[in-house]
Every structure is written in C-alpha cells, then in structure tokens.
C-alpha cells in the first residue's frame, strides 16, 4: 500500500502522471493542440508553468504532423507525449501510427526504435458528443502489430498505466475515457507507481459468468453484475483488460474455463470490434469448457448518433440480458 493518497479525478491523475514523467525524465516533452494552457480537458494544467514552454507546447491543427513529429523525436532517444485532442481526429495520423510508428524498430533491424512515443487521446461517449466526439477506435489500432494500446478504467489505474506507457520500450496509444475525466474520483497514490502493461485485472471474483470489458464500460458492467447478483443470484467474475494490445489471454481463458460462460462488452460498434478478437481466441482455446455461445454487447453498426445516444449505448440492462441469456442457456 502507498502511504499518501489524494482524491483525484481522471484528469488530475493523468496530470500527476505527466508531472512525474517530466520530473523523472528530462527528455520528456508534451505537445498537442491547446495543451499549453492546460488542454481542453485540463489534463496538462500547470505543466507549462512548471516545466517551461520548451517542454510543454502547442502544435498547429495537424494530426499527421503531430504523430510523425513524435516518432522522430523518440527515434533520437527522446520521450514524447503527444496528445490527439479527440480520438475521432486520430485518423489523419493513422498512416504515421500504422506505417511508421508500429514498424520503426522492426524495419530498421532494431537500429532504432520509437518506444519513447506515447500518444494520449480522449475516447468514448460523453452524452452529447455526436458523430465526431464519441468514437472509440481501439479496434483499428489493435489491428496493428508493433503498437501497444492501453485504456484505463479510472484515475488510480490511469496514473499507473500512463507512467508505464510513457516509460515503455514500445510506442503506446493511451486512450482516456473522456466521460470519466471529472466524473470518476478515486484515492490515487501521490507517489510514482506503475501498473504493468499487458496484464488484466479481476475486479470481482465469481463462479457463474465471466464478464470482460475495458475503459468506461467497466462502470456499466459493475452495475450489470450487481443487478445479476441481487435480482437473479448470478455470481459474475468481472475482468478489466486494461491493455487491449497485447491483451491478457490467459486471464480471460482461465476465468472462462472456470465459469463456462463469457460476455464481452464494448461501446464501439460490434462488427470487428475488439470483442470479436476476444471471442475468437477464447473459443479456440476453451471450446470444450463453454456451456453457452459467447455473447457480445456492443454499440450498433451505425455512425455514433447524437440525440439517439441513449439507445445506442450498451448499457447495464442490455448486459444484464446477456448475462441471463448465457446462464439460462447453460441450464
């Protein structure tokens, strides 16, 4: 346990991690659109004043440029923390991420690497974001060998995972559930600490159903598991992947082999969402342990809607239905 903790929300925890990174590694620079004054979600508040504008600075509105620039600096040994203001804007940078960042070490035969890159970006539904301020593009990025993709579920996880991401020897895309920036408040250690990448966390142990999610979805899944227990006496084991790529296959497989039933839930559209990867792998590894077809509870295959968001979101009721469905099927 840590001696000193402070109640922090998500943006404060991220700010704390970046401050620690700037303090402990003099080559760390933080840049992106509007980060100088603190950023549109306040994650970089106070950092320019404390560390100077040569280390914390604004970029023009040029995502491809931001990504490429981050790679180049890291290739020379620096630590770059690049912000893409909303993950919906990451697509112009996709060529840099997929064709340059992910292949940099491999193609040079390990002469160089850009492990010093961390790309931070807000993701997910926020209640009113509409088409271009709500997307969760983890599936596009997880389809890219050479990248690491991380998504914390709250402030305490965020600080530890972000420090691990910044210090990782591989380029990391760090996705921050924007709905939690102010809404999620937890006790976060004041110290420098890291949470390992590539390892999932079991949030509650259970015996009847394995439920898997990541990021902001865990809050919804906790509610669904609570309802399953209180209304139907169903004991759910809830897993937070924490790292999407590479994901902790053994953790999910071991759990599913114990419970025999799996529900995977994510906000992003169902077709080719990352849930599909989890399902395919689990059925391949644990086919004979399964007592019911695996369920996915996800966003619909439509553009993210504005006024219809409530209907689109894979909420706790939809997840409760899926949990009940696999339990009923297995009986």
């Amino acid at each position: 346990g840590f001696a000193n903790k402070t109640k922090m929300n998500l943006f404060t925890a991220i700010n704390s991690a970046m401050q620690t990174a700037l303090e402990t590694d003099p080559s760390t620079v933080i840049f992106g659109e509007d980060v100088g004054f603190g950023g549109v979600f306040r994650c970089s508040t106070g950092l320019r004043d404390q560390f100077g504008s040569d280390r914390v600075f604004n970029t023009p509105l040029s995502e491809t440029g931001i990504a490429g620039f981050a790679i180049g600096y890291a290739a020379q040994g620096g630590t770059s923390v690049a912000e893409i203001q909303f993950a919906d804007y990451i697509f112009p940078a996709l060529d840099q991420l997929v064709n340059e960042m992910s292949k940099f070490r491999y193609r040079s035969g390990n002469q160089w690497n850009c492990g010093g890159v961390t790309v931070r970006t807000p993701v997910g539904a926020v209640g009113h974001g509409g088409h271009y301020h709500s997307q969760s593009p983890e599936a596009y990025l997880a389809h890219t060998p050479g990248l690491v993709v991380v998504m914390p579920r709250g402030p305490r996880a965020a600080k530890g995972l972000l420090l691990s991401s910044i210090r990782s020897k591989d380029p990391v895309i760090f996705m921050e559930p924007k709905a939690l920036y102010r809404a999620s408040v937890e006790d976060v250690p004041d110290d420098d600490y890291m949470i390992p990448l590539g390892k999932a966390e079991i949030l509650r142990s259970g015996s009847d159903v394995t439920v898997v999610g990541w990021g902001g979805q865990l809050r919804i899944l906790q509610k669904a598991c609570d309802m399953a227990q209180s209304e139907h006496g169903i004991s759910c084991e809830l897993i937070d992947l924490r790292t999407i790529l590479p994901w902790d296959v053994d953790c999910v497989v071991d759990s599913t082999e114990k419970t025999g039933k799996l529900v995977v839930s994510h906000e992003a559209p169902i077709t080719c969402g990352f849930g599909a990867e989890v399902v395919a792998t689990v059925q391949e590894r644990s086919f004979l342990s399964l007592e019911a077809p695996i369920q996915r509870v996800c966003g619909y295959d439509t553009p993210f809607p504005l006024v219809f968001e409530k209907y689109y979101i894979p909420d706790e009721l939809k997840n409760l239905e899926a949990i009940k469905k696999v339990v009923d099927y297995a009986q």
């Binding site: 604004n58 023009p60 509105l61 009113h128 088409h131 504005l306």
Partner: protein, 294 residues
C-alpha cells in the same frame, strides 16, 4: 483562387452593443458618406477592401446596390445574428447539447458569398455552419430544431450543430473534422467541370475553412489537384484569428493565407464588409468558373 476574409472575433462586449442603432451608425461610417436612400440605388466605395496575389486584375473599387438588395442583406445578417445569439443563450442554458460553434461576427462573409453565387454553385464548409445552412435553403426552425434534437431538424437530429446538409440548396455541410471538407469540395468542383460542355461556364465549388484548418495537409493536396486539373474550385479561408483556442501567431508560421497557394492566385477581402465580399467574390467566381483553375 485562394480567398482570405479577415473577420474580427466578436467579444461579449461588442455583442451587447450590437443593437440596431449601433449597427446603422457603424454602417454609415464604414460604407462612406451616405446621405440618404431616397433614390433606388446607391454607389459605395470599396477602396482598400482587396489585396491581390499573383494576379494582374482585381475587383472594381466600387459597387452599386439597390435599396432592396441592401435591405435583403441587412435582414439576412441581422437574422443570422439573432439566431446565433439565441443559440448561444440556449447552449449556455444546456437546452442545446453537444457542440455549438457560432458564426456571429462573420455574417457578412457568408452573405456576401451567397450574393455573388448562383444557386447551383456548390458550398461546403466547416462545423461553423448554421448561417450558411440558413442561406442555402434552410429555415430557422430546421436549424434550431436540429440543435434541440427534434425530428423537425434539418438532419432529423442525427448530427446536431456540426452536421447540416441541404441537397436542394447545394449545401454539402457541415463537417466535424477540421479540413476534411476541402478535398471533398475539390471533388465537387471536379464533378462540375466533368458535367459541363467544353467552353461553357462551370458551376463553382467553394470550400470554406478557418485559419486553424489552413495548416491541414489535405488542403494542400487538394490545392495541387485543383490547380493541376484547372478545377472551378475556390479555397476560402475565414480568418477569425483563432484555431480552436490557439491564436493565429501561435499556430501559423505564415498568416497571409491568400498568398499560401504558391502559384494559385489569391485575394484578401475585408470580411467585415458585405459589399466588399459580394464584389470580391463576383470577381473570384468569374475567374474560377471560366476555366482559369482554382
């Protein structure tokens, strides 16, 4: 052609002062000594409204306007202003959710462009699109309805503030991703050229974007294509001096946007003067629609 219209971002204080009385007093000063409107037309001096780049010709320095035209422009701009301020109030009251990027202060730009254009010319712009939606066949009910998330909204509430579209009005939106509208607009221009008989004037396409967007690489890709294939495309930068929250001298190494087309001719127009915009854009439209390229 690269057009750059310089607007002044309206502060809250200026908004409060924008009553009809203040507006008419300002217009008397801006449009020169105008004694009366007793005749049906009047001529206005536009000296100083235009700066040219890489082109020998220029718009004339005066414009003749009828009383009806002037009243029409004033009514439209005033309607736009009241609509945008209302949206501002409703957004702050959280009756409008999502995003709300307002055009107050820039009314003269869109009004002047529309006055110079044909209805079949194609128009695509950024998310700061409420007033252009109004010009291009939209009603206040459709616009405000969309913002309130009602089914009478122009896009049936699917998109909100940034996503207005009107096929009949040749209005292609309404774009959430900064700069993405410009390659699209270039494609619209290509379609206009492709559809017309050789030698006949083409309908133009105009892609409006901001000074922040001007640093997007896709704009320069589009400009190259438009120039290479002599497309009837107008690249129109509405310079309100801010890219999101970052002021122009902190996001652009070069802010004479009308000169950024390299060999593509450019014009800087005073975007606060609707008559200058109309005259300037008539000149631009004539250039682009007659096979001279962007």
């Amino acid at each position: 052609m690269l057009g750059s219209l310089r607007s002044v971002a309206l502060t809250a204080a200026r908004r409060a002062a924008a009553t009809p009385t203040a507006a008419s007093a300002a217009s008397a000063g801006r449009y020169g000594a105008l004694r009366s409107m007793s005749s049906d037309t009047a001529t206005f001096d536009l000296t100083g409204s235009f700066e040219m780049y890489n082109i020998d010709s220029a718009p004339e320095n005066s414009i003749e306007m009828s009383k009806e035209e002037l009243m029409g422009h004033f009514e439209m701009m005033y309607t736009m202003r009241r609509m945008e301020i209302t949206c501002d109030n409703e957004y702050k009251a959280k009756n409008i959710r999502g995003f709300c990027h307002l055009y107050d202060g820039q009314e003269a730009v869109a009004t002047g462009i529309n006055a110079a254009f044909e209805p079949e010319d194609d128009w695509i712009t950024s998310y700061r699109c409420h007033c252009i939606a109004l010009l291009r066949g939209g009603t206040i009910k459709e616009i405000v309805g969309e913002l309130f998330g009602l089914s009478c909204g122009m896009s049936q509430a699917k998109g909100g503030s940034m996503h207005f579209y009107n096929k009949a009005g040749h209005f292609w939106g309404g774009a959430g991703i900064v700069g993405a509208q410009v390659p699209l607009g270039t494609g619209l221009a290509f379609a206009n050229k492709y559809a017309v008989k050789p030698g006949e004037p083409m309908n133009v396409a105009i892609g409006c974007y901001g000074d922040g967007a001007a640093n997007q690489g896709q704009i320069w890709e589009s400009a190259n294509m438009a120039s290479l294939w002599k497309l009837p495309m107008i690249f129109c930068i509405e310079n309100n001096q801010y890219g999101m929250g970052t002021s122009i001298d902190r996001h652009s190494s070069h802010s004479d946007y009308y000169k950024m087309g390299n060999h593509i001719p450019g014009i800087r127009i005073d975007g606060m003067n609707v008559l200058a915009v109309k005259k300037g854009m008539e000149f631009v439209r004539e250039f682009a629609s007659t096979g001279n390229g962007p």
